[in-house]
Symmetry: C2
Subunit: 307 residues, 2 copies
Amino acid sequence: MAEEAAPETPESAAAEGRVRAWAAAQRARGRRVALVTSGGTQVPLEARPVRFLENFSSGRRGAASAERLVAAGYAVCFLHRARSVFPWARALPTGGPALLDLLRVHEAGRSVRVAEGALPALVPALLAYRRAQDQEALLALEFTGLAEYLALLRAAARALAPLGSSAMFYLAAAVSDFYIPPSEMPEHKIQSTDGPLQITMKMVPKMLSPLVKEWAPEAFVISFKLETNPDILIEKSRRALEKYRHQVVIANLLESRRTSVIVVTRDLETRLSLSEDEIAQGLEIEEKIVSHLESRHRDFIQQGSST
Amino acid sequence: MAEEAAPETPESAAAEGRVRAWAAAQRARGRRVALVTSGGTQVPLEARPVRFLENFSSGRRGAASAERLVAAGYAVCFLHRARSVFPWARALPTGGPALLDLLRVHEAGRSVRVAEGALPALVPALLAYRRAQDQEALLALEFTGLAEYLALLRAAARALAPLGSSAMFYLAAAVSDFYIPPSEMPEHKIQSTDGPLQITMKMVPKMLSPLVKEWAPEAFVISFKLETNPDILIEKSRRALEKYRHQVVIANLLESRRTSVIVVTRDLETRLSLSEDEIAQGLEIEEKIVSHLESRHRDFIQQGSST
């Protein structure tokens, strides 16, 4: 079923080999490995697509979490939507006039420097990025479309399976629940002269199921649940845990997602929140999430080795 | 009808005042003014939206055209999708590792410089941007959602109407043809457990009609037609010209849009293409489009003043 929605491609096969070699090297250095997925998937509505269904996601959560995981000693495979927020690049404006305004031409065009005001945030980010590069602690993989995401997720999961319980899956990407099978897609751009648009979309097979059962059955798996209705949030998170038998759901609401989440496990609900003071200090909720999960993961590894 | 789909907002009213004052100053300097729209619109599928319909557009065409128009002596109001390609910022990678890789920490963190290899492309772009800023030759306005785009387009069109035939409208944005009226939108995130997704979308009222008839009836108006099917491209362009009574349609196909377009007017079809040599030299099709339109616009102004 998963194979049908996302057949293996030469790119995904190459990615599997790359991740496998990288993970083995990281393991040899004694590092735990995390796969972080980040950003939204793109679902085409036409065979030669002009229109797409997109899920809301800047990729900020995934990028911030990847930074924290590297700081906590993890090697991170960062499977992200092309052009979504990237770890440590958050210190820079994303294109546009803000980025141009930051750059100054010096020495009659022989050098371009970043404006001094930006250095306090930028220099530590650049140094942390360079350090991660030097240690190969960040392996970035890019996707755009849903099928590409699914194929890369499977490839990376299989490549990390040999690490057993020391692999963490941190599935923060906003994956579409719906898609149009290629056989049902119009070949050309849908014409607006044909009147109102009727779209029927099929459900995307949930990847959590094969991930937990087949691809990486010993791994520590965290999924995310984003809702707008607080009344169904916890119930839906519990139902996901029961159905997929993974370890953790991070439950959050669209409006408060940057300051508060609930960590749901089979026997516990733990709320993590930023205080007013912490928000004023520029602390990010991802710092608390990663710190919490890091110790949960440690317990998980020990439980596994003691049985 | 247009007012219904895109009611005036405090932001659009403020933008109208800003564009009006800026345009008057540009006119006093003897500059022609162009409104360039660029990038795709976002259409929410839910009232508290998690999912969106997006039109394909990086904003590259609009940004490249704005650069050329400024070089040709126009003052450009650049109405663009937030985070889409921005004039002169194309010389830089858009975020992510490529941007981080370009920056070097020097003097123990007291300066950050752009890598030398990037300077040949970056320095001229930065100088052109700075020159445009100094002359206020670029006024940037941002949109994300469809309603926001429509309200800003109307505001800018009204603000430029006093310029008469010396105002050019270069409507390169990829505007959604479809939307869901707020009254028909689900309040919360659509649940995937409810089965396959059925979406019915209404047609967006075409803004070209009120733009040409009411908002800026004397202006020189160029619209864009992007299709995937070559068989209907010219016919659809002609039909648009007859229906909306504006001056030019730039017709292009998704696959060849970067190297070839057809300029369609009531009595002519002119194909503009890049030769293999020109492509190898890094020439852009927007250079030919703007050069062609600039002289058409000149004729249009003279015809108007001679009648």
